[in-house]
Subunit: 148 residues, 8 copies
Amino acid sequence: MATYMWTVYLAGEIHSDWRERIIEGSEDLPVEFYTPVTDHEASDMCGVEILGEEQSAFWRDRKGAGINSIRINTLIDNADIVVIRFGPKYKQWNAAFVAGYTAALGKPYITLHDEEHDHALKEVDASARATARTPEQVVDILKYVMLK
Amino acid sequence: MATYMWTVYLAGEIHSDWRERIIEGSEDLPVEFYTPVTDHEASDMCGVEILGEEQSAFWRDRKGAGINSIRINTLIDNADIVVIRFGPKYKQWNAAFVAGYTAALGKPYITLHDEEHDHALKEVDASARATARTPEQVVDILKYVMLK
Amino acid sequence: MATYMWTVYLAGEIHSDWRERIIEGSEDLPVEFYTPVTDHEASDMCGVEILGEEQSAFWRDRKGAGINSIRINTLIDNADIVVIRFGPKYKQWNAAFVAGYTAALGKPYITLHDEEHDHALKEVDASARATARTPEQVVDILKYVMLK
Amino acid sequence: MATYMWTVYLAGEIHSDWRERIIEGSEDLPVEFYTPVTDHEASDMCGVEILGEEQSAFWRDRKGAGINSIRINTLIDNADIVVIRFGPKYKQWNAAFVAGYTAALGKPYITLHDEEHDHALKEVDASARATARTPEQVVDILKYVMLK
Amino acid sequence: MATYMWTVYLAGEIHSDWRERIIEGSEDLPVEFYTPVTDHEASDMCGVEILGEEQSAFWRDRKGAGINSIRINTLIDNADIVVIRFGPKYKQWNAAFVAGYTAALGKPYITLHDEEHDHALKEVDASARATARTPEQVVDILKYVMLK
Amino acid sequence: MATYMWTVYLAGEIHSDWRERIIEGSEDLPVEFYTPVTDHEASDMCGVEILGEEQSAFWRDRKGAGINSIRINTLIDNADIVVIRFGPKYKQWNAAFVAGYTAALGKPYITLHDEEHDHALKEVDASARATARTPEQVVDILKYVMLK
Amino acid sequence: MATYMWTVYLAGEIHSDWRERIIEGSEDLPVEFYTPVTDHEASDMCGVEILGEEQSAFWRDRKGAGINSIRINTLIDNADIVVIRFGPKYKQWNAAFVAGYTAALGKPYITLHDEEHDHALKEVDASARATARTPEQVVDILKYVMLK
Amino acid sequence: MATYMWTVYLAGEIHSDWRERIIEGSEDLPVEFYTPVTDHEASDMCGVEILGEEQSAFWRDRKGAGINSIRINTLIDNADIVVIRFGPKYKQWNAAFVAGYTAALGKPYITLHDEEHDHALKEVDASARATARTPEQVVDILKYVMLK
């Protein structure tokens, strides 16, 4: 049997080390990981820094979101699996947006969040292939899927 | 010129009268409106009420979300335009999920929310065709699009 | 709010009255039901009856299956919801084939079967929006989805 | 003329050595084979082993089927050809589900089963490009398709 | 059960009365038939008659084929079933072109031709759902598919 | 034979009476015509009039273009045929954008322009089904396609 | 600028040396060529040789066409460009079938045939990107497209 | 984290050195650039040079545009990002055509043009992910998207 080289995109929360824990835990797996830009400041300011200042906050955000979407859309379209992390804080609407986008493509995704958000995320989880509570569980899923 | 009969799906927040205000304001337009089930209690409990009780809250939500998704997916797939309302409270991840799903279909959607959420919704707004602040602005957009 | 006219395709087992029970239970709903040819003898023999006898059973089946697929594919492609019944007897591989075909289209389906088949149908149920045990539960789901 | 590197996914029955016979017979062909997890126990238990125990057998199966679907869907989507084996025992609804899913994608598949199942598999065979009786016939088809 | 209104496109040979025989035989069926322009002279000359003369026969044909393709593509895209007739004379490459186009859409088609063309049409027939020898057999297939 | 009800979208130049001439010439045809908003001032200002003033001309245009795209995309997606007029003046990049968008959908379109623009429009014309010089020629094409 | 590695599928007539002339003429190009099985006898008999004899010629052809379609569909789906040759003899309906299939995928193809077939191939040529008269012209097109 | 190898297609104006400036500025990026044929004379004459002279300028252009479209369509379909430059002169309808084609594919594109064309390009810019004024800004966007 051949070894498939998997591509996984890690979307969502950028304030904890969940990405590192998944990547480190997967170092023996045939997998390439991709992420959005996780430098919060850079992500927010890329539009105006590159294309010039805006007076209105709305259009400043628009410029940045447009540029970030080039990376996000390409890497999701190119991924076999998307892992989407919802952290304990903030609205994180972009993470739920990624889930809906991925679901419409018929591409499998795994959610990663605490039990306290189960009810609020029920539509997002219902389209997921699995809901994990820890990065280590995500690693175990990847190990099973890729190696067994 | 012929009159196109438009189909609009009204997604998101269910605690204020924004849907009624849009529907009433559009009564002279060639449009049919559709919505998710907006009875919160019924929406949460439909799974276990129809298919039997669950001990775990997670699977109770799953059962309900599965049934609701039949309606939601069909009506979005059938809509020309989706309007997505984000209210002042709650996580509303299902609304952002609808936005991502609609964006991936290449179908136009309009967001409706206050300025305070602009930054958190920047990815969702960047894929929207318009961001309105009031239901009346949504009505004005529909009037322009359908009647002009 | 407008009333959506739903289209439901009833696939699977043809030896009990489950279709009649769903159709009768739904008579107040805005729904049109479609089915495969449920006359077993006619379904098996249509190929050779119309296009001429075959010496081999394999090609006799092929002729019939080809003609039946015209109806089945068209009506599934045209449906909003597919209900798939697995009865207590026979292999019923055509029902599972319909489930896989419907899943790949991203179209919602509901499975209807007894608990004893849960394990054997786990992949089929995992892609379903709901698993019902009785035709009356299917009717309740349709009522909720179409009327609430 | 260039040599195309083919990708073949081997779906279905896991109780006999048909996969090994195809893989060994194809060792001189430009082909990479992929399979589902064929360790029955691991496949059944992966959900609860990784994500935690469930009281109900239905949800235990759901958890496992969700995780297995990540592998199955990705490898089918990535395959040029799917070979689907129906053995002499069990319902094997997942194999028929794979056939329907593959058919809807317009991707070629080959069925592999004994004559006794011809009638029950007539819809599945009618969408297949070929129906083989032995793994050696499948190898001969692959040789013809890839080398001639 | 509801009555589905079927749409059938009748493609191919224009020198015999096969279309009339199918349409007349189907007068009690819930079906709408569409055809290409079957006036040979008009079909050949439409390009230059409407858009102006051409010196080269190649471009005269191109102009006509472009206009005819507007009708053909739209009506095939809109059809549930395509019936494709190959007559005893001429190359009829446009009929085989329609078959390939329809096959790629995953849309069911029926071929109608004499046994003498079986070998030359083997690829076209292999993707068909049925191969009929007479218009009356096509009518019988439509009756079975639409009425049973 | 049934009568197909055609849908035609009239895109492009808004400074001459070409739309009226096509619609009037087609009054006996089974066709419904749709157009973009052809009131130039309204089209330019709809964004800021409905959603509030902008200081920058760039974002003023963006707001209007977003709203107009709701109408344009929906009506093109819903059309059987698109007619695209390039007039003697202005850049008319939106007309060429519509042509590219329509081409990518595999939907037939007809261009309408003078000979002087042939070279500049060669890529746009190469994907068109016909290039007409006068609205009357477009009417003749529609008559041929719809009535013959 | 990077060098794109092109994939070209050479479909159609198998009685002359046109494939060799194109492949030899392109030896300095960044291109991989693929073809159907061009051994006429092997192509006709593959079905019954591998899967067992048939009494009826119709089903013998079906078996072979099914197996050949695995190769043909995969290689067309994988190609950037399809070249389709119509020779002076035979019906060659499979070549026109390939053209229709390729057109429906929106994939570019080049036809290669003598002027005497222009009228019979007008629909096939109208969807082609170019019509060549000699293999050397095809090589020149590939050189221009790949190297310029 | 893995390094994604990006593919960028540079479309539009061929009279200034903007492509060179982007390619040189990106030499440390993981990116492969592709372009249309930028030799104006060759691009205009390829049709008649390879396939033979035409008396009418319209068909001479058609022949060339058909051949060029093989390259353009393939490279856009294969690109992750399209950059589209509108220069100060000429109609450049082919550039706007590429934008519409790319937008319909849901593929991200960046426009590059001076402020004076903002109003005429408002529909094209509204579907773009970013509008740059200089090649260096495009490089900065690529650096951010690919390296951050």
